[in-house]
């Protein structure tokens, strides 16, 4: 791994498509359903999932190393376990575990799982190893690792920061769990994609220089 088998062009296209997917999902929510994350949390989260999941799974599926070994079922399994891990993390950090928040937490953790873990299920042969790489390597190497690692970290860190306004007494509806956390995650994810693009370009140029 780490070979530049993915061109800069491909990487940017992937990121742009994923970013557009998020944008389109929010637009659909607003224009078609007349809802947004604040007024209709569950529905919007579901919409984000529905729009984004095929995009991510499909595109990253292109980069799969070992299609036989890593089936779609396997991938789904990883998605669900990733959701569990995310939900666990959220609860550890103090997310409410009351029954009325159950569906929200469910959809939120599925979305987080999509941002963080589903890729690896869809693109790498030994899924668990890749999952480890996403979160537990100290320095990502190679374009693919940038593409997976940086947005995922961005999503998690964004969600972590997104929880900060929750205790404030502004009494705005978006301070409810998990609305601002989702916003944080989306923003973090987008920043992560941006960072991944920058890193890809930088590495590309460096290799060109080396090649010259």
């Amino acid at each position: 791994m780490g070979e530049t088998d993915i061109s800069v062009w491909k990487a940017s296209a992937t990121h742009i498509i994923c970013g557009l997917g998020l944008f389109v999902a929010f637009r659909i929510a607003r224009d078609v359903h007349g809802s947004n994350l604040v007024s209709d949390t569950v529905q919007t989260l579901r919409l984000l999932l529905v729009v984004e999941a095929p995009l991510i799974i499909g595109i990253y599926g292109f980069f799969r190393r070992d299609p036989q070994h890593c089936s779609w079922m396997n991938c789904m399994g990883f998605g669900v376990s990733g959701a569990l891990v995310n939900a666990f993390g959220a609860v550890v950090l103090g997310a409410p575990i009351r029954i009325q928040y159950l569906t929200r937490t469910l959809y939120w953790s599925l979305l987080m799982s999509l941002f963080t873990i589903l890729f690896c299920g869809s693109c790498i042969s030994t899924c668990f190893a890749m999952w480890l790489i996403v979160f537990f390597v100290e320095r990502p190497r190679g374009v693919l690792e940038y593409m997976i690692c940086l947005p995922a970290h961005g999503a998690v860190i964004g969600a972590w920061f997104g929880a900060w306004p929750m205790p404030l007494d502004w009494e705005r509806p978006w301070q409810e769990w998990p609305i601002c956390v989702t916003y944080g995650a989306v923003v973090g994810y987008s920043l992560g994609m941006l960072a991944s693009l920058v890193c890809t370009f930088v590495q590309n140029r460096r290799q060109h220089v080396k090649g010259d």
């Binding site: 550890v92 950090l93 103090g94 409410p96 009351r98 100290e138 205790p167 404030l168």
Partner: protein, 957 residues
């Protein structure tokens, strides 16, 4: 021997230096910030007090005329009203009452109390609207205290009311009762807490449920109107709460608020009608005064407590029934007038709420409360036609006496007594209180007081000339002299109010600044010491590891937590913030352990520990939880959820015992594994376990679900806790003695400290457990789990452990976060109503300030300060992973010192931020409700931690 003593002192003197620095700076800061006042609880005004000579003459004259006419029995001043109706509308903003013409914009909540505006317009001589300026802190309890004592209650009144808010100072209600007035109270039950035995009759309604808008008000309305037709009372107090509650929940600009105001308008209409109907000659309300007033204002969000204009400006409406009086002389009139849309002249006057007690006393002819520093308000005093009577002019010279002159003479007399009483209080206060007024102030005061007397004798001379039948100019002159005298008295009272406000409501910024600067110096010193110790540590035991990263991480954590104190919301949710940060470290260390490939169960356990903490803290911290009563309501609803009540009670009875026995077992198992215990192991461990058994017995006997004979019940409730306290203290004493006199034959220094720590903890734990009640054992187990995880994780943290080095600062940070979590997890909050007063009475029935205070102190800080500090050595001794061969005695103590220093430093940083925050937010509306208690808890916690660290360093090192 000499040398070892010396080196010990060298090792630990750092802690004492830091302690002294902290105490000094906190003392300076607190002197500037926390305004304190000493209550003079033993001094009461009484009728037999004889004012200074110039006033007495006139008092006797009053008395004489009263006796002959037989109207009322005045005491210091002649009574001018027989009955007073006080309707308190909690949180009545000024713009609720004043006509909207006075404000730039007309808001929906204005002009709702139309009846008051109409009366003030149509009967402007007997009905008046006042803008009453309250003094901060504008919380209901303190305002009630201010209104009735006529003083300026501060955030901390030094006195002996502990827990119970009962007013022990002399106050209006006490004076009313002791002068034979019958007081009828209805409404807010705070009055009954404050005056438990004063009211002849009362209809209290619970004020705790902020969400309830109607219970109190409906109850008051039910009793108010019928009472107006009875004559078994002299003073009626009706306290409505609806507007306050509506503000807290919905804000001022809301439909419920407007509905409430309209409802009050109807009630007030009925009240005025009832009073008017009976105000004819020889009817019960012939001579009655009606007050409709607020105790404080509120912001548009419904908050109050601070000193912004919205909160301090409340309104007071006063109306006298009976013959209408004249109007006051123009230079005593504070009216502001404006012409309304229809050309009518609308006016309001201004007064200080401080003056309320003195004015009421003067109107009813009772001595004003001893501590009152208010002035009798001329406009209120003029409301009674009686004060315009010419009764104290000699009948022969009546023609010469104008009405105005008579009134001014009356008012002058009242003011004279007023001044004398205030002077008496200030003199006594300065002489007896802890921090009196300054010498210059007192000298100036005496000077101003002297001026009154000189002008007074002038006035009397003028009067006597006048009575001898001197021409008109001199008569006019006598009015002028009277006016001068009144001015002199008013000046004196205004000066007193000014210096009292300076003393009791103004911050001393210079002192605060000095304290803050000194605190930052102490932080710097602290930091330098830590660096030095770390250097020495590295020197004695060479190591290369990412100490810098660890420092950075812990610095970030501490900085985040500390800066969160700048916002009131984060202070409210402090427990959650701490748990969030702790969880973050947990997740990071989980990640770290996976990267290292050394995945251990502790990382997961730490996360689980966080879930347990988070779950129970979740519901304890809602915004409304500021009121303690809300908590009890919440507890009721919790127990109500359980379908089978029986199972729940059995569970709640059994589970503490279960956890208790588990912790006893844990203690036994842990200690049995240790060697080198020498002789006293059996004593300590067995003593502690016996104490645990006693605690269990205490809980069983104390519970109400089983019926034990009274004697046994008493034995369990009172006697057993005493035994536990005694044995705990005995064990501690023995521990100290053995530490001093017995040389242990332990070769390994670390092992010795472990034994000391375990012995110390086991000696302390029974006391803390019995005080913390049934949740105690579970919290103890939980904290053992957390501490164990942290210790084990600090074991893993350094990546390339080629040698032993200083202790990981992240672990120390985690430790302090854990301590903070435990404070909130055990049900405490940084507010005084969050104290668990019940704990102070475990084992005792009577109240003793020092004894009960100590118990409460131990209960409050036990789990979060005492235990964490005393168990800190574990962090050094237990992770004895790859033991460094060169781990000398000196190296071990350096590490211990490093841990203590780091822990103290973390606490000091958070406290420093609290101090900065309190300085910035000193004009914030929640400063007395939230920031000041937080500051106090932090400061007390810091001092406690410093003291404990000093003691621990003495003991362990």
């Amino acid at each position: 021997m000499e040398g070892s003593q010396d080196s010990k002192w060298v090792r630990i003197r750092v802690f004492f230096l830091i302690f002294v620095l902290h105490s000094l700076s906190i003392y300076l800061f607190t002197r500037g910030f926390l305004l304190t006042r000493t209550e003079l609880s033993d001094s009461f005004s009484s009728c037999s007090d004889i004012p200074d000579p110039p006033c007495t003459v006139h008092q006797r004259r009053f008395d004489g005329s009263d006796d002959s006419s037989g109207v009322g029995v005045g005491c210091w001043t002649p009574p001018v009203f027989d009955r007073i109706v006080i309707i308190v509308l909690d949180a009545l903003r000024f713009d609720f009452v004043a006509p909207s013409a006075f404000f730039e914009e007309v808001k929906p909540w204005m002009d709702k109390l139309t009846v008051l505006q109409r009366l003030a317009l149509e009967e402007s001589s007997s009905a008046k609207i006042f803008k009453a300026i309250a003094d901060p802190p504008t919380t209901s309890l303190l305002r009630l205290k201010g209104l009735t004592t006529g003083g300026l209650p501060t955030f901390i009144d030094v006195g002996n009311s502990f827990g119970a808010p009962a007013i022990t100072e002399d106050n209006l209600i006490h004076q009313l009762v002791s002068n034979g007035k019958r007081v009828l109270m209805m409404g807010d039950d705070t009055w009954l807490q404050v005056f438990p035995h004063h009211f002849q009759e009362s209809y209290p309604f619970p004020s705790f449920n902020v969400k309830d808008l109607h219970v109190v008000d409906d109850g008051v309305m039910k009793h108010l109107i019928p009472s107006l037709y009875k004559d078994d009372w002299d003073v009626l107090i009706a306290h409505f709460l609806g507007v306050d509650h509506a503000g807290h929940i919905f804000g001022v600009d809301s439909t419920p608020m407007i509905e409430k105001l309209e409802q009050y308008n109807n009630v007030l209409e009925k009240v005025v009608e009832a009073l008017k109907n009976q105000s004819g000659p020889r009817q019960p309300h012939e001579n009655t005064l009606l007050f409709v007033m607020g105790d404080h204002g509120q912001t548009l969000n419904g908050d109050h407590g601070g000193g912004t204009a919205e909160e301090v400006e409340t309104s007071l409406f006063a109306m006298s029934f009976g013959s209408p009086p004249d109007s006051v002389p123009p230079n005593l009139d504070s009216r502001t007038c404006k012409f309304g849309p229809d050309g009518e002249k609308m006016c309001f006057s201004s007064m200080q709420q401080l003056d309320f007690a003195a004015t009421i006393s003067a109107l009813l002819g009772i001595p004003s409360p001893f501590g009152s520093i208010g002035r009798v308000n001329p406009e209120l005093y003029a409301l009674s036609a009686k004060t315009w009577n010419i009764q104290n002019c000699d009948a022969a010279n009546c023609k010469a006496c104008s009405n105005l002159e008579a009134w001014m003479t009356n008012y002058m007399n009242v003011l004279c007594i007023n001044c004398w009483q205030v002077k008496r209080y200030i003199d006594l206060y300065s002489a007896t209180s802890v921090i009196g007024f300054s010498k210059e102030d007192m000298l100036h005061l005496a000077d101003v007081y002297g001026q009154i007397h000189s002008s007074r004798s002038n006035a009397i001379n003028a009067m006597s000339l006048d009575e001898d039948g001197v021409p008109e100019e001199i008569h006019n002159n006598s009015v002028y002299v009277l006016q001068q005298k009144i001015d002199a008295s008013s000046n004196f009272l205004a000066y007193i109010a000014e210096i009292a406000r300076l003393k009791w409501t103004e911050f001393d910024l210079k002192l605060m600044g000095a304290g803050l600067c000194m605190f930052f110096v102490s932080l710097l010193v602290h930091f330098l010491f830590i660096i030095r110790v770390v250097r020495l540590c590295k020197f004695s035991c060479t190591s290369i590891w990412n100490f810098r990263w660890s420092c950075m991480a812990s610095f970030l954590l501490v900085a985040t937590r500390a800066s969160s104190f700048l916002s009131n919301s984060y202070i409210l949710e402090e427990g959650k913030v701490a748990s969030f940060l702790l969880a973050t470290t947990g997740i990071l260390s989980f990640r770290g352990s996976v990267i290292n490939g050394k995945f251990t169960i502790e990382t997961l356990l730490l996360l689980l520990f966080n879930i347990i903490l988070g779950c129970s803290m979740d519901d304890r911290f809602s915004k409304q939880a500021i009121g303690s009563a809300y908590m009890s309501a919440f507890n009721i609803s919790i127990s109500g959820i359980n379908i089978s009540h029986f199972i729940w009670t059995v569970f709640s009875e059994i589970s503490p015992l279960l956890f208790l026995s588990m912790s006893a077992l844990l203690l036994y198992r842990c200690t049995s594994g240790m060697s080198h215990w020498g002789g006293y192991r059996s004593l300590f461990v067995n003593g502690t376990i016996v104490s645990y058994v006693l605690i269990g017995v205490h809980w069983i006997l104390e519970s109400n679900s089983m019926n034990f004979p009274e004697g046994l019940h008493y034995f369990g409730r009172i006697f057993i806790p005493l035994v536990i306290y005694a044995s705990g203290c005995g064990l501690l004493l023995m521990l100290v003695i053995t530490q001093i006199f017995v040389k242990k034959g332990v070769a390994d220094q670390a092992e010795g400290v472990v034994i000391d720590t375990v012995a110390m903890l086991s000696a302390c734990s029974p006391i803390i457990l019995v005080l913390s009640g049934r949740q105690g054992p579970f919290v103890a187990l939980i904290s053992i789990l957390g501490v164990w995880c942290i210790i084990r994780l600090s074991n893993v943290a350094p990546k390339d452990s080629t040698g032993v080095h200083g202790v990981d600062p992240v672990s120390v940070t985690q430790w302090s976060l854990l301590a903070a979590c435990l404070f909130f997890y055990t049900g405490h909050r940084c507010s005084f109503d969050g104290l668990r007063f019940g704990a102070a009475f475990i084992g005792f029935d009577e109240f003793n300030l020092i004894r009960q205070g100590t118990l409460l102190f131990i209960e409050t800080f036990g789990f979060s300060h005492i235990i964490p500090i005393l168990s800190l050595p574990f962090l050094v001794t237990l992770p004895r992973q790859v033991s460094c061969k060169t781990d000398t005695k000196g190296g071990f103590f350096l590490k211990l010192a490093q841990v203590f220093l780091t822990y103290g430093f973390i606490t000091a940083i958070t406290t420093a931020f609290t101090m900065v925050c309190v300085t910035i937010q000193r004009r914030h509306l929640m400063v007395w409700g939230l920031f000041a208690p937080k500051f106090l808890f932090d400061v007390v916690g810091l001092i406690l931690i410093d003291v404990l660290i000093c003691l621990a360093s003495l003991f362990y090192m």
